[in-house]
Amino acid sequence: MLILTIDTSAIASAALLSAGDDAAEVLATFATEDTRSHAEVLAPGIRRMLDDAGVPGARLGLVLTGVGPGPFTGLRSGIATARTLAFAWDKPLAGVMSLDAVAWDVVAAGAAVSDFVVATDARRKELYWAQYAADGTRQSGPHVTAPSELPALPVHGAGAGLYAQQLEAQGSSVPEAFARTQPTAASLGLSAAAVLRGGGRLADSSPLYLRESDAQVPGPRKRAL
């Protein structure tokens, strides 16, 4: 089965995967390092990737989207794109928690020797994070908190790199190899394909915002008299 995966929880990326009964492989990828131009680059990137791979949408078996957590506007651009592509091509759609992509990278590299944490930048001096067992099974999360609330475990992902000194001072370690790693569609797709191979089910495409909008219900009117 061919899978198109999109993730815009941090960078914008897309990947085309072939998932079989025993393994999955990445056939093509698109990614940008920029975290603020998703609406511009994502659609042209997907079109070019599929054209170059010679795969028309009709041949896809599944559209996958990262559902965050991630900065809201960027996150929505990927989900809106995936939902609309799935609608237009009449393909099944599913969602994957974006931090699972980095966990997949860590486990695939053999770098997970104990429980570990994956963290990305949530801005506002906070991190999005989740805790995983050494085999990559998620144990808790996703959460959004200050870095001070992370457990004293190895912390991977670009969020770890941002707060490396603080995390190390509070007993976590920040391995250099994954200190700048962002969730990518390719890793997210491999992670999801493994779930499917294991007979697991994927989530729907609902975004994991983890925060409400900042809007406050207005209080009583201020008086000048």
Binding site: S37, H38, A39, E40, V41, L42, A43, P44, I46, R47, L50, G57, F72, T73, R76, S77, G78, I79, A80, T81, A82, R83, T84, L85, F87, A88, W89, P207, Y209, S213, D214, A215, Q216, V217, P218, R221, R223, A224, L225
Partner: protein, 362 residues
């Protein structure tokens, strides 16, 4: 290769504020106009909250697409073009519509047009059965757009490539002022309908509220126009209403809510119509199209009709469902761009939150 068609089948997506709209037209024929609004979710805040609107767009856009295609009885393959509002509007809200439209373009290979929201409010007047009923837009056309996000006077020399901004609000939009005054008076959101209803029972001359930017230093003369001859300001008016209400309260008197509402509404509508008619006269505009959500306001319609008639100007008012934000207007303007041989935007454009009216399509 898509050759310019006599009556192109165009799907338009609108998501610049709190309405998720999908409309489909064939040339000037309206096939469907699906609108889903998040207005209810904004009521407790007394105004549109961009993040809440953006979240609602994400969940509404695919169901709206599905419904519009079903209602119109067309498939994506049938379309000649896809269109989307690229601006002006709220950044996060525009982004959802733009991403959905780009995805449709990727999936179908159809050309994508990035359309100006304000000019689309004018383009909707061209639809069959509308105020112009399929005839061409008049020469010497102007537009008065009044909504929760906009208050503008435009000159439309050519709908697809020659539109000019004559005047605009320098602070709040008129509809925004209605919402804020409604809160001051303890009325419901949105403020426009609430104030319009109550104003019918009040005396519009009870209180003389200020008409913003009407002093000579702002207006100048026809020969030497001042810096804000055709511009609006509603921020001071809103404050004047608040002070007025506080004075009644300080004196321990009941606030004459209907009189305040009527007098506020008169101040807004008086200055809007006076400046619009002045702009028409001084720019040789002989037809004026009214658009935006506040075009549903009964006093604005009445005074605009009275003053344009007195000045010999034709007033064009689309039906309310086409005055408020909708996808049909985006499709209608895009169809004009397609018929005029305009180039599609491609997939690489960014939404432009302050897209000027001189940029009809990107």
């Amino acid at each position: 290769m898509n050759l310019p068609s006599a009556a192109p089948l165009v799907l338009g997506i609108e998501s610049s504020c709190d309405e998720t709209g999908v409309g489909i037209v064939r040339g000037t024929e309206l096939l469907t106009n699906t609108v889903s609004s998040s207005m209810e979710e904004h009521v407790r805040f007394g105004g549109v909250i961009p993040e809440i609107a953006s979240r609602a767009h994400l969940d509404a856009v695919v169901p709206a697409l599905r419904r519009a295609l079903d209602e119109a009885g067309v498939s994506l393959e049938d379309l000649d073009a896809i269109a989307v509002t690229s601006g002006p509007g709220l950044a996060g809200a525009l982004m959802v519509g733009v991403c959905a439209a780009k995805a449709l373009a990727v999936a179908t290979g159809k050309p994508l047009y990035a359309i100006n929201h304000l000019v689309a409010h004018v383009g909707v007047g061209l639809l069959d059965g509308g105020p112009l009923d399929g005839r061409d837009l008049p020469e010497n056309l102007g537009a008065l757009l009044v909504s929760g996000g906009h208050t503008e006077i435009l000159r439309v020399k050519h709908i697809t490539d020659d539109v000019e901004l004559l005047g605009a609000t320098i602070d709040d939009a008129a509809g925004e002022a209605y919402d804020k005054v409604a809160r001051i008076l303890g009325l419901s959101y949105p403020g426009g309908p609430a104030i319009d209803r109550l104003a019918a029972e009040g005396d519009p001359k009870a209180i003389r509220f200020p008409r913003g930017l009407t002093q000579p230093k702002y207006m100048g003369t026809p020969e030497q126009p001042g810096p804000h001859r055709f511009d609006f300001s509603f921020s001071g008016l809103k404050t004047a209403v608040a002070r007025c209400v506080e004075q009644y309260e300080a004196r321990g008197e009941a606030v004459p809510v209907a009189d305040v509402a009527a007098s506020f509404q008169e101040a807004v509508v008086d200055v809007i119509t006076a400046k619009a008619v002045l702009a028409c006269r001084e720019h040789g505009i002989t037809s004026l199209l009214l658009g935006g959500g506040v075009a549903a306001n009964s006093r604005l319609r009445a005074l605009a009709a009275e003053r344009t008639a007195a000045a010999g100007i034709e007033l064009i008012v689309p039906k309310p469902s086409l005055c408020t934000d909708n996808g049909a207007m985006v499709a209608a303007l895009a169809a004009q761009v397609v018929m005029a041989g305009g180039r599609p935007a491609g997939l690489g454009f960014a939404p432009d939150t302050s897209q000027p009216v001189t940029s009809v399509s990107l």
